[in-house]
Symmetry: C2
C-alpha cells in the first residue's frame, strides 16, 4: 500500500471542481462537484441525528438504486431544519447538476454543511452548477476539498494505491470537519472514490464497518451533526468483481480502512481550536463495547480535554471519566500510561503513571508532563478484566474552541 | 415558607465551624465541621461514579444505622483514588472527630473535595479537628460553607422556615460546586440540617426524590465527580413524627425541594467560568424520561453552551442537540421559545423562535438576541407529542471555564 496524490481525483475516471458560489459571506470557495465518467456503485452512511438535513433525506432515496455518478456539495449552509423548502432546494441541486452533466437525477448525491436553519440561496447555487461542470478537471480534487471546508483550517485529502486480488486498485478521498465531530456516524462529510469492482451490498457493508472503526471513533466536541455522511463511489474499472467476503474483499477493506482513518485523524488534528491530537487506547475491558464506552467517556470529558490543553498530567480527571462510563471497572487493576504515538509503545517511549491503581511516583509524573508538551499524545488504559479493546481519537478543549464557537454565526 | 439566615446553623440545635487546616496551598479555609447537639436521623445520596472516593465508602457504612451527629469535611483534596490508605485516612478523620466531640464513630460522616489522586495530609487534618470543635458556634454556618469551597466564587447557603403539619419547621443547607457538575447524583457536596421529626426510611426516600429533581437536574460540564454527596441531618426536635406519606410528609418534601433547588441553582450560577444561568424546560415529550434526555442533551452540548456565551441565538445547534438525544421527536411539531425567567413565560416575557418547526422571522430573532444578553435565560422546548416534561439548569461554556480547568493543578 502506498500513498498517492490527487485526493478524490487520484483515481482514473474521476474529475472534480470547486468554486465560490456566493453562499459564504467571506468569499471562500463553497461549491464542490465530484464526477465519474462512468456510472458507479454507491455506498453511504448517514448521521444518526434524529433531524437529518434535507440533502440526506434525498440521498437516502437515491441510494436505493445503489448507483451514482456525481456528488454536488456546498459549504456555508447546512440546508438542515429547513422543512419542505429545504428538500425542494436539495432536489433542485440534484436536478440542475443532473441536467448540466447529462445524467440521471438519481445518480446525483447532494451534501451540505454549515449553518443550520437557514434556507439555501438556491438561485446562486443553481447558477454555479454549470460553471462547476465546465471546470471539472482530472486534478480538481484539491479545489473540491477546499470548497467543502467550513471552520477547517486545511483541506483533507487522501490517495492510496494497493493490491486487491491480482490488481492494483486506487482509493481517493476528501473530508471536512471540524466542529460537531463525535462518534456516531458521521460527524462530517467524507467522499471516497475508487476504481475497485465490487458488489453494491458488499461495498455498503464494508463502508459501514470501516466507518464504525474510523470516523465513528473520533470526537472533537461530542456533537453529532444533522448533515454527516460518508459516501463512496466505485467505478469498477479495475480488477475482477468482488462478490464475496474473500481475500480480495478484506484487502479492499484494509485499504478503505487506511483511507478513512487518515481522513478521520486529519479531522481531529484540525478540530476547532485543537492544539493536541490525543489517541486513547483502552484494552483489557470486559468487552469491546465497554472499552469503547470508556474511551469515548475520556475523549468527551471537558475536564480531561482542558487538562490536555493545559499540558497537565491530571490523571484524576481521567480516572473520574473512566468511572463515569458506566462500564464495570476495578480501580485496583487499572493501568494508565502515556506514550508518544510516533515512537510506539515500547519501553522507551512509554511512561506508566498508574499500575494496578497505584501512582508510580514523581519520576513518572515528570515523564508524563514531558510527553504532554508534544502535539501528539497517546493515552493507554488497561483494565485487566477481559479482552475488550477500542481506540478513539480526540482533540483538546482550548480557548480557541470557545472563541470560534461563541462567534460562529456573527 | 420563608427564607431565613444562617445556612446549616439556621436550625436550632446545630453548630458549625470552619478553618484553614493546611491542605490548600493558597491558605484559604479548607476544613469544616457541622455538629448536632442531639443524635439525628440521617439520609444521604452518593455519586454514581464507579470510583467513589474513600469518604463515601466509609459514609455508606455509617449510613446503615441511619443515625448521625456530625459532618467533617475538607476541601483542597478529594481523597479519591487513594486506595487503602485513603480509606484509613477517612476513618482517621471520623475517629478523631468522634473523639473530640465525645460521640460514636459511626455518627460522624466524612466528605472531601478537591484534587483527585493525592493522599490527604492526614496529620494536618487530625491536628485541625480539636480546633474546629472548639470553634463550633450557633452562627458558624457561613464559615463552614466557606471552608468547603474549591473553585467556587461564593459560599452557598440556604435557610427556610415553613409549616409541616401543625408545626413550623426549619431547614438549613450549604453546598459547593463548581466543576464536575452534572446530573447523576450528586455532582457536588450539599449538607442539609432540619429539626423535623421523620422516620429514617421516609427521610432517605424523600431526599432521593428531591435530589433527582434538583441536584440531578443541573449540569455545568457534564462530569460526575467521585466525591459527590447530599446528606441531611434531622434532629427531630419539632413537630410530630412523620411516619407515613401523608400531608405532612409532602409539606416537608416541598420545603426540602425548595432548599435543594436553591442550592442547586447557586451551584450553576457559580459554574466554573459561567456568565449565564440557563433554565431549559422541555414539555410535550413522549414521557418524562425523554424530556429529561433532551433537556440534558441541550444542556451538555458544548456548541449550545458556547453559543450562549457568545449571546448568539444559534437555534440550529439547539435543534441538532435535540436530534441527538435519541428520543423520538417530530421536527414539524417543534416549538422553541426563549423567556426571561424572572419575568415569567407570559406573552410579554416570551419570544417564540420556532413554531411547528418554522422559524418565526427576524423580529423573533431580534427579540431572542435581546434576551440572550441577560444573565438569566430561559429556553422552552415544546414537542407536541405527549405529556412528558423536565427542567434542567446549566451554565454557558466560557473562555474562563477553559482557563480555570487548564490551570487547575498547576
Amino acid at each position: 500500500m502506498q500513498k498517492i496524490e490527487g485526493g478524490v481525483t487520484a483515481v482514473e475516471g474521476f474529475t472534480a471542481s470547486g468554486m465560490f458560489g456566493g453562499i459564504k459571506k467571506n468569499g471562500h470557495p463553497d461549491m464542490a462537484l465530484i464526477f465519474s465518467e462512468t456510472p458507479c456503485t454507491v455506498a453511504a452512511v448517514f448521521t444518526k441525528n434524529r433531524f437529518p438535513a434535507a440533502p440526506l433525506l434525498l440521498d437516502k432515496r437515491h441510494l436505493r438504486k445503489r448507483q451514482g455518478q456525481a456528488v454536488i456539495a456546498n459549504s456555508g449552509n447546512a440546508n438542515a431544519f429547513t422543512g419542505r423548502r429545504g428538500l425542494s432546494d436539495a432536489e433542485a441541486m440534484a436536478r440542475t447538476t443532473a441536467e448540466a452533466l447529462g445524467i440521471a437525477r438519481h445518480s446525483v448525491f447532494v451534501a451540505s454543511t454549515g449553518v443550520i436553519g437557514e434556507f439555501l440561496p438556491i438561485e446562486k447555487v443553481k447558477a454555479s452548477i454549470p460553471c462547476l461542470v465546465s471546470h471539472l478537471a482530472r486534478d480538481g480534487g484539491r479545489t473540491a476539498a477546499e470548497a467543502i471546508m467550513t471552520t477547517d483550517t486545511f483541506p483533507k485529502e487522501i490517495g492510496l494505491i494497493g493490491k486487491v486480488g491480482r490488481s492494483e486498485i486506487k482509493i481517493g478521498g476528501m473530508a471536512k470537519g471540524s466542529g460537531m465531530i463525535h462518534p456516531n456516524m458521521a460527524t462530517m462529510l467524507a467522499f471516497l472514490t475508487t476504481d475497485v469492482a465490487i458488489h453494491p451490498v458488499l461495498l455498503q457493508e464494508g463502508l459501514r464497518v470501516v466507518t464504525e472503526q474510523t470516523f465513528n471513533c473520533i470526537t472533537v466536541d461530542g456533537e453529532t451533526s444533522t448533515n454527516d455522511m460518508v459516501l463512496c463511489l466505485a467505478n469498477g474499472s479495475r480488477g475482477g468483481m468482488i462478490s464475496e467476503k474473500g481475500a480480495a474483499y478484506h484487502q479492499f477493506l484494509s485499504l478503505l480502512h487506511t483511507a478513512c482513518l487518515s481522513l478521520a485523524k486529519m479531522i481531529v488534528q484540525d478540530g476547532e481550536g485543537a492544539t493536541k491530537m490525543i489517541t486513547i487506547q483502552v484494552t483489557g475491558a470486559k468487552d469491546d463495547h465497554s472499552a469503547y464506552r470508556i474511551a469515548k467517556m475520556i475523549a468527551c470529558s471537558n475536564l480531561v480535554k482542558t487538562a490536555f490543553f493545559g499540558q497537565d498530567a491530571n490523571w484524576g480527571r481521567i480516572v473520574a471519566a473512566i468511572g463515569n462510563a458506566g462500564a464495570p471497572v476495578d480501580p485496583t487493576k487499572l493501568d494508565l500510561s502515556f506514550v508518544n504515538p510516533n515512537e510506539g509503545a515500547d519501553r522507551h517511549g512509554r511512561v506508566i503513571l498508574l499500575r494496578h491503581g497505584m501512582h508510580q511516583g514523581e519520576k513518572a509524573e515528570t515523564g508524563v508532563t514531558a510527553l504532554l508538551k508534544k502535539r501528539e499524545i497517546g493515552l493507554m488504559v488497561h483494565l485487566c478484566s477481559g479482552k475488550g479493546k477500542a481506540t478513539v481519537w480526540t482533540s483538546d478543549l482550548s480557548l480557541d474552541y470557545v472563541k470560534i464557537n461563541a462567534a460562529y454565526r456573527t
